[in-house]
Amino acid sequence: MSARRILRSWWLEVVSLLVALVVFVVPFVFILLTASKTVSESARLGFTLPTTWEILGNLGQVLSARNGMMVNAMRNSLLLTVSSVTLIVFLSAMVGYLLQRRQDRWATLASALMLAGLVVPPAIVPTIYVLQSIGLFKTLFGMILVEVAIMMPFAVMVFRTFVSAIPRELDEAAIMDGASPITLFMKVIFPLLRPAMITVIVVASVGIYNDFTGPLYFLPGSDNATVQLTLFEFQSQWSTQWNLLFADVLLITIPPFVMFIFFQRQMVAGMTAGAVKG
């Protein structure tokens, strides 16, 4: 009787959870299982528990493959992500703030450009040409600038929306107290932008860390390889060593997973905010 009542009131929960587990969780479990197997066992591509858990050995092999190419790639990815995101936060906050506070012809132009940046696909080969003419092609710094340009429109939109909720009286009070424009921005406005900043930081860092097309075009060569490029290269190289390939997949999925655990709310808020007013 009571079991039937529980079933009747919980059936939708049970069914939807089961479907979600099969569709969305099983692929990740498959990654974990395959990454834990031996070469020969992983070659069967089965969804089975490994007979012996080789996960640590496999991860070690991935990290030491090709003279620690993976470790180098992780350093590159970290450097690329952190420097790009830092630049994006400061520069976009300045633009979003000015756009909202001083609505003149420049603001109209800037808004139009940001909109274009959200929609228009980047022109690949001409970008390479420009980077090459200023000596930044195949350099981490050039790649950073590309990521900044690509992510900026989204960040500006988030900051602009957020600045509109900060009362202008605050600016005026600071000016009365003799604050210069830069002090006003850095000491009064910027600290208040914290929630928007967190949003921009989490969304942009996941986006840049996961970027594959950018490094593929603008950062070729194994010295500069980012983790996504390394994974892509390993795909063809390790087509018979599925355990190592999936150990690499697992390794690369850890940073976004950590972000997800700690910042899910901000991430959802950010993606919603960045999209709603386009």
């Binding site: 929960e13 990654i31 000015l98 506070r101 600038l145 594959f212 976004p256």
Partner: protein
């Protein structure tokens, strides 16, 4: 008088234009300049060493070569398929997850997580899951007596198989946008729907019409994303078998690798024009038909 003038001066002075400068400089050099240059370079035969003006030859070639034409067609198919599936599934899931379902937060997290995972990782994983004989998908189908297709090596369905994975990865974003849209609908409407009838009335007469802004956003984002998509297709099929799943972005990459920079740039300009012609009118339409809540 004196005082008011000083105040306005102060106001403008507090917001100096040079705040645009650092961001503007990067954006102009890295984004605006290449976009403008692309129109010129698309009209040239362009190698590493020199450029030669050849008029519209690249575009003519783009529309004459079957492989390139099918790339353009595939981009549109891919955009339409992924976009409509994300809208339909996203809206249905959001309706379910804004109801009184007790596990809604857990479900939302589970469905949203793939949005954050690297596209290359997702592509590699699904390429294995879709393996024709040993892959988990076909093995599962076999249990039910279904002979699963060769998802990625059958030219008739390889593009759709990739599109399916794209939806798997991206539906979580559509979901959270729809949830935000539904949650912004005032409670009175739901009250009224409850009095009028059941869930169908709620969905058909409240959620569907009043989450229109979210629908527009999802359509725009996923359509733009669909037209531009590259990573997933490139990691799963490399455009193959043959040219069966080539899209504009993958033909651009192939032309670039082959050293046909002018042709690659023409592909970029075509993508630019396609996106502009489709997306900006869409935006105008959506802006006119926004609902006020």
């Amino acid at each position: 008088m004196q005082r008011t003038r000083r105040r306005t001066d102060n106001k403008v002075g507090a917001y100096p234009h040079w705040f645009y400068l650092p961001a503007g400089l990067i954006f102009a050099v890295i984004f605006v300049a290449p976009t403008i240059l692309s129109f010129y370079f698309s009209l040239t035969r362009w190698t590493l060493f020199d450029t030669q003006f050849i008029g519209f030859d690249n575009f003519v070639q783009f529309f004459k070569e079957p492989a390139l034409v099918s790339g353009a067609r595939n981009s549109i198919i891919y955009a339409i398929v992924t976009c409509s599936l994300k809208v339909i599934l996203g809206l249905l899931l959001a309706t379910l997850l804004t109801s009184r379902l007790r596990v809604r937060n857990l479900l939302r997290s589970i469905i949203f997580f793939p949005v954050l995972v690297s596209t290359v990782a997702v592509g590699i994983t699904f390429a294995v899951l879709m393996h024709p004989s040993n892959g988990l998908i076909n093995r599962t189908l076999e249990v039910f007596g279904i002979d699963g297709p060769s998802w990625l090596s059958d030219p008739n369905i390889s593009l759709l198989s990739v599109a399916f994975v794209d939806v798997w990865k991206g539906v979580g974003l559509a979901l959270v946008l729809f949830i935000a849209g539904i949650l912004s609908i005032p409670e009175e409407y739901f009250e009224a729907a409850r009095l009028e009838g059941g869930n169908w009335v709620k969905f058909r007469y409240v959620i569907l019409p009043l989450s229109r802004n979210a629908t527009f956003t999802v359509i725009l984002l996923s359509f733009i994303g669909g037209l531009r998509s590259f990573d997933l297709i490139w990691t799963m099929t490399r455009g193959g078998p043959g040219f069966a799943s080539d899209v504009i972005a993958s033909t651009i990459y192939k032309q670039y690798q082959a050293g046909f920079y002018g042709l690659a740039t023409a592909g970029n300009v075509i993508l630019f024009i396609a996106v502009t012609l489709i997306v900006f009118p869409m935006m105008r339409f959506f802006n006119r038909h926004e609902v006020e809540l």
